[in-house]
Symmetry: none
Subunit: 211 residues, 4 copies
């Protein structure tokens, strides 16, 4: 019994360290690019020694899957929170979704930029199961819109809701994370104005009478 609790204590300590390291990386990512962050810097931020880092991770890249996992959990939480905050109409729901998503991306800009870029350069950092999970999260968002299916004029509402989510995310990622770059510079709108227009785009897509 005692031995068990000792082991648990050790594991807890170990978990604690891992969390500290991930948090340190997360923090650093708000001001620097992943590639420019040294392990010494991460460990200093985390208040642990470099050896401790290497006891847990093979190298800096090994952190990324964990970072992704962390982010995934926060994304899931965010999705759940949204589900608990249903709106009176599809239109309002879309507006809320846009606003909330914009805020969420802002809050996680550093981590997101790293994950977004690195997963494109090194697809192997994301496991199939992680992508599957993320896909499922998106489905939940689409399902949230589907609860207003009576308001949706599209002949294949599920397809349309998924497409809406895709456009929502791809637009906001570019606007929030890379506002000064292609393709965001195609539109001169401020972030707020962009949200309004994006809302409009999605509302029109889902609600307009179609051929």
């Amino acid at each position: 019994m005692q031995e068990d609790s000792i082991i648990e204590a050790k594991q807890a300590r170990s978990q604690q360290t891992q969390k500290k390291l991930l948090a340190a990386l997360s923090d650093s990512l708000t001001t620097q690019f992943f590639e420019h962050i040294s392990i010494a810097h991460i460990t200093e931020q985390a208040g642990v020694s470099v050896g401790t880092f290497y006891r847990r991770f093979k190298n800096k890249e090994t952190l990324l899957p964990y970072l992704y996992q962390d982010f995934s959990e926060q994304f899931k939480d965010w999705v759940s929170a949204l589900e608990g905050n249903k709106q009176g109409s599809l239109s309002d729901q879309i507006a809320l979704l846009v606003t909330e998503c914009n805020a969420f991306l802002h809050a996680h800009a550093g981590v997101l930029r790293t994950l977004h870029l690195n997963s494109r350069l090194y697809p192997e950092i994301l496991t199939k199961s992680q992508l599957f999970e993320r896909s499922h999260d998106y489905q939940q968002l689409a399902a949230l819109l589907m609860t207003y299916s009576t308001e949706i004029s599209h002949s294949k509402p599920k397809i349309a809701c998924e497409m809406a989510i895709f456009m929502l995310i791809s637009n906001l990622i570019e606007k929030v994370l890379y506002s000064e770059l292609t393709p965001a510079i195609a539109s001169p709108l401020s972030e707020e104005e962009n949200q309004q227009e994006l809302t409009l785009v999605l509302q029109n897509y889902l609600q307009s009478p179609q051929a």
Copy 2:
């Protein structure tokens, strides 16, 4: 006279070297992270010495704008071609735009991936003037849509056209270059189906009666 030709010869050689270096970087970028490509590797690939590299470029980052320039010219050509192929209606124009853009991105997927990602990792690689130029190209595309302004119901048609271009590009980049990743996995559509839906999204946005 003779000196002139010597200088010309030297300039030609110089041009040649520059091209070789750009090609070497371009090649390397298809398999490796820009950050992980060493100057030694680039020069080796190009068959010149490191000293020669430094005679021509300040550092690795200085190479990217040249790469970008190449692509820019092709983009401009594509825009011009589109302008010479006006359609009978906004609806048709949007459909054509989506199809053509999808094809263009496909044709340049390799270098695009590089530029798209690396400009995000190293925003300083793109000069302000280059971004301005690109911005101008996008304006041209928006202007193309604006020629159908009578069909546009949006209260601020220019804003809407720009937004449409932004959404067009961000959607297609993700679908064409990173179909297996977030956020493209939010929608299960094939590339063709995605084009159809994207067309619909844009048409509805520009043409629908609005509040």
Copy 3:
């Protein structure tokens, strides 16, 4: 009474741990350089924690004398066995010594290689008392030859016998353990032929009429 048995049990456990650690080192030494074996590796192999290692040994080097001790005992046994098998003449005794020594080295090639090399890399691992003991063992072998002193023509028979033992061992170690390397490659003889010649060398040395 009970306490005693607890202590005994603890001592037994302690002994057990020590043996496991020695065995782990011994195993590792057959494939790796002592210098390249980490304590973490030894303890992992032995199935104990690093802390336990440090409770029992000051450091890695402290382990080797124990390894040496094991071998020493077997060497002593072998010497004793030889003493109980006296021959009729010096000549025969030398022949037997060569044959038996060759066989003994063969039988212990693995651990010998370790000790032979590592004692050269880390002379401090062998205590003075261990070297003294080994020296004593060699004296016993020399003494064995000295029992035939009437047949020895050398003016300082004891010196000669000791020299003979030295040459016997150094020749056989090289031939048996490192037959493909310098200096064994100086002579193309098979192991059996080498034994014959070595016998001849020693016989001539001890028995020839000298100036």
Copy 4:
């Protein structure tokens, strides 16, 4: 022509650096074991930067074959010198060989110890061709003795000469490099006395009347 000389100059400089590094290692080996010498220490001794080391060698171990090559050349030189210093009798030749060999080993003790041990731990550092060369050198020493074949009583004089060389080397390596260890401790003789006895051993072996 000029280009050629530039290249030659560069190569010469490069060679120079390599030599400095090898010399630095050689020097260090007289006071420290190979395993305990850091690359920083070697480069400091050589008066070059660490980067320079890595431009030429993958790591410390990569130096060993070069060290061996260096040593081999000196060994060959030593053999040649001996051949130019023929003695009046086999007896004198053996005496000279023992003395000279003892001196040679002394002069190269540091390097030799490293090569001797490391070639036993990592046989792959020596190529077959290098061993073949060394074998050839030993043959030359044996041939030197064979020039006195009329004085050799052994029925197979070539075999005997080779065996003599083998015993010469194995005895002296142990006595010169590892005098305090097994098996050298079997004999209490000083280095000089050991040389005398070794001379006696070899003389008796080659010259005694045999069965």
